[in-house]
Symmetry: C2
Subunit: 257 residues, 2 copies
């Protein structure tokens, strides 16, 4: 667990699995986030809006233009922070949100990692296809160092990087199968995404499809909506994916029926 600063008032709750899951879902289901960087030249904090995706190790990813202030800032100083969780309706402070303190690392174009991120990002944000290959657009991985979760009034938690990362040894093997598995599910089991979304994420009916699979869960998309189904435990063997997906479907159908 992250250490509480010595001078901090004792308002933090003990970080439990519910808090960890909430933090992961907030971060992994975000379409955009507020990014804080240090403005070049002045060193002032600078907040802007960025599209967000996720790498297979749970590291959040942003796609940004080299012409923007935040990109120049991150190339000067990698220290950064992401605020995930939209306020939505009602009291903005009643909605949970997550601050992740991050260190940015630019992704080299032409690398295997770039190809993987590009594919995952475009599946999450289909419109990004229009500019992802522009020479002035670049990906940064924002590697979590620690995080502050605010689950609503009086519900504050500190989280470690470990709480937000995906450690499974099957990460790469799953990434290799991801595209095929998604195509298979969305065509041969087209009803599954909608069942996952409504049963596990409480989402409304819609034209749901699977837009991402990793060792820790599934991303579900319907138009502008994005939901995250977290597995109860990370998949540690890529061969188990089919069973995990089938069991989730069976469980949802049994519970509903």
């Amino acid at each position: 667990m992250a250490e509480e600063p010595k001078d901090a008032p004792k308002v933090l709750r003990d970080t439990d699995d519910d808090a960890r899951t909430l933090a992961r879902v907030l971060l992994r289901s975000s379409r955009s986030a507020a990014l804080a960087v240090l403005e070049p030249d002045t060193g002032s904090p600078f907040a802007s809006r960025v599209l967000t995706g996720m790498d297979i190790d749970g590291v959040p990813v942003i796609l940004v233009s080299a012409l923007s202030v935040h990109t120049r800032a991150l190339r000067t100083d990698p220290r950064s922070s992401l605020l995930a969780g939209e306020p939505g309706k009602g009291d903005p402070l009643a909605h949970p949100r997550l601050t992740v303190i991050t260190e940015a690392s630019e992704v080299v174009r032409g690398s295997e990692q770039h190809a993987r991120l590009r594919e995952r990002f475009v599946r999450r944000h289909p419109k990004a296809k229009l500019y992802v290959d522009f020479p002035d657009f670049t990906f940064f991985r924002l590697v979590p160092l620690r995080a502050n979760l605010n689950g609503g009034f009086g519900k504050a938690y500190l989280l470690t990087a470990d709480d937000l990362l995906i450690r499974s040894a099957a990460r790469e093997a799953l990434a290799e199968r991801e595209s095929g598995a998604i195509e298979h599910m969305n065509s041969e089991h087209a009803e599954a995404a909608g069942i996952y979304a409504s049963h596990y994420c409480g989402a409304k009916e819609g034209n749901w499809s699977i837009s991402g699979i990793d060792a820790a869960g599934i991303d579900l998309s319907a138009g502008d909506q994005l939901e995250r189904l977290e597995f109860s435990t990370e998949i540690s063997d890529a061969g188990a994916l089919r069973t995990v997906l089938a069991d989730l479907l069976t469980k949802a159908r049994t519970t509903n029926g």
Copy 2:
């Protein structure tokens, strides 16, 4: 106009009155914003969510708990930044947003300024009444230094502090009449707020009321919604308020009828 940094690519548009109005409306109609500060001890950027209000000179105001990271940060280093403009539906980057680089100044409890901000803030956020008087809650004015407006893809503008501040000599005189004028309008001309909201802000029908009046415009509230009607020019004589409000009503009725 703000000077463009010498090494910046020429992607900025010339700042015109439309851009200034959009920036003002984004900032002045915000209920919450992302706040970027420098984390105490580490100096890392730190993004969090805050409720926002506005002082009579156009300076954005936040009400925060002394127990939070951002309050400790602002007390250590006043450099800060606000991101206003919610992503809403559709592509998050298609929605306009404004980054304001600010310098925080804590408002002394018991001061006249505190009393005025408290009244204006609670009218904007009625639920804040529950905690605004807690001893660990405090107001900061976030004085704009400059701003970056992003009006959607390829629509970037630099703004100066002047573009965001209200300079009218009638500010204080209007503030003294504000509460009475709002009560009068909301009781004697209850239909006005709805007409303002729909005609000038394109808002849907709802239970609209006036929640703020200053030299530059009117804040309109309906439940969780907040709209901002900017006057075409600042009111420079408090005695003209009645005429301005009546003319806006007449104009809306004439255009609609």
